[in-house]
Symmetry: C2
Subunit: 332 residues, 2 copies
Amino acid sequence: MGEEIAVIEGDGIGREVVPAAVEVLEAFDLGFEFVRGEAGDATEEATGEALPAETYDLAAEADATLFGAAGETAADVILPLRDAVDSFVNVRPAKAYPGVDALRPETDVVFLRENTEGVYSGHEDRLSEDLSTLTRVVTSSASRELAEYACGFIEDGRGPAGDPDEGFTVAHKANVMRETDGRFRDEVLSVADERGVDADEELMDAFATKLPLDPSQYGVIVCPNLAGDVLSDLAAGLVGGLGLLPSANIGHENALFEPVHGTAPDIAGEGIANPTAAVLSAAMLLEYLGHIEEGQRVRDAVESVLADGPRTGDLGGSATTDEVTAAIVDRL
Amino acid sequence: MGEEIAVIEGDGIGREVVPAAVEVLEAFDLGFEFVRGEAGDATEEATGEALPAETYDLAAEADATLFGAAGETAADVILPLRDAVDSFVNVRPAKAYPGVDALRPETDVVFLRENTEGVYSGHEDRLSEDLSTLTRVVTSSASRELAEYACGFIEDGRGPAGDPDEGFTVAHKANVMRETDGRFRDEVLSVADERGVDADEELMDAFATKLPLDPSQYGVIVCPNLAGDVLSDLAAGLVGGLGLLPSANIGHENALFEPVHGTAPDIAGEGIANPTAAVLSAAMLLEYLGHIEEGQRVRDAVESVLADGPRTGDLGGSATTDEVTAAIVDRL
Ligand SMILES: CC(C)[C@H](C(=O)O)[C@@H](O)C(=O)O
Ligand SMILES: CC(C)[C@H](C(=O)O)[C@@H](O)C(=O)O
């Protein structure tokens, strides 16, 4: 028996793009055992819970999880799921592909986003009629664990340049959040120094100006949680939208893979969603499980289809999800 | 005697672009009394303080302040100066101009950034060897005051569309920061509703994707403090960089005006800095003091020079700061 893959489609186009990604995975005959779980708005309506305990447990116990998207309940689903796989880093590549209309075709970056703390640890209080607070948390341990991952990522040549000498950039706001982002920045830079990996730093606001002006100056970017959320979504705008961006939530024992896009209620149910982000998430899943060659074959097939194959409406074509998926499988 | 204008050049190109802006202001003969103050890295070196009390008091007492930029000490200078003028909103227009190479030439937006709280209230604690926290603060009173300002801004036709019907967008992250950004979002939308101003909302990460994809769908954007910092800097990347962006920190009795750019150490002292952002900040100062026609004349002169006048190196020209300033004054 092969690895157990939890499959959680969620809502909206999640129900269309996740099956497409599963179809691509099945093409390899790796003996995966797919186990389905429910989560999202519809699940909440049916069961009272956006993320039932059995779905949480499923993700926690599977070797890897493929998740689609959730609607209004997105935060109630994805944040606990990241916790279920004990994820400490969210890997978010943003790459422009030949054949796809991109504002900055030279964009090829990977965000390594801290995935457990910052404003996401979520201690909020209503202290008075007028005033609420949120306690933002930064630990040296989480910052260093992220940095160790980033160094391994670079050393293994997994950065966009594929070159262990390329180094990374830490984006932060330590000039204002001196103690918390200062700690983050200092720990990340100190791990890089210990491991002999090149690292420089950039204020996150300056980064937001400079990335659109010249994305080619960046490769791997290491960020606190919310900075990684916003800056990687900015990069999505430069490569032509969210329809292409996969992501991986890496934990200690297992991991969860999801397209960066949402449920796209405007087109959900019509069978015309772009499966690319979900299929590329499946490629990251393959690589995570050690099926490096298969992952690369998926990437190559996706790139080939983007270049001259059928395309969905978001990319100016009129192909269906099934047609694009069949073309990808065909070119594997 | 006319109004008292505090002039704080700061460091780097602040010492070049602020005099240019003062030259433009002086061209109108409005009887302004200019009073100089020192702040920044050099001041810290000389006096031990980046922002001496007399400079703080100068800004607090002047009718308006023109500030340049500060280097390493930027946060130690600008955050207290915003406090000196009791500023509750940071107004940040980002507009692409004909003749200037912009990634998105259709960009014409104004950010209204909350200017007192969020992560900037700055309560940070080192709770253990491993852990630091920051207490992020959001009050209904500050959120409502910002929203009232935004509604007046729209009603006066000061938004990019110039149309009191245009409305605004609130950008926030209330799906994660439910209590704090939830409070912000709810209060801002409720004030808009009371005043009959159209308002919609957007998650700040989705906004970061959508702004580069299509800036023409946005006009006035109302944000919490850090969101406004990052998203307005992102807009700077779409209009061709920070060299063009002015800003106003509006308080109850007075206000402070500053270019969004920094000290540009690489070109400081050479007399080749682009004075546009500082001059446009002076235009905002004129308008704030009720000299609406003069403000408009400055804007028109700047646009005219950008279109076919001398330009500095950042815009692909080779003119000096003085030459550009003379051209602006000439076309007033
Ligand atoms: C849905 C939301 C909680 C989530 C986040 O902020 O992490 C999303 O924006 C993402 O980036 O996956
Ligand atoms: C220097 C820094 C404290 C400041 C800020 O974060 O507000 C700057 O980035 C700005 O936007 O004016």
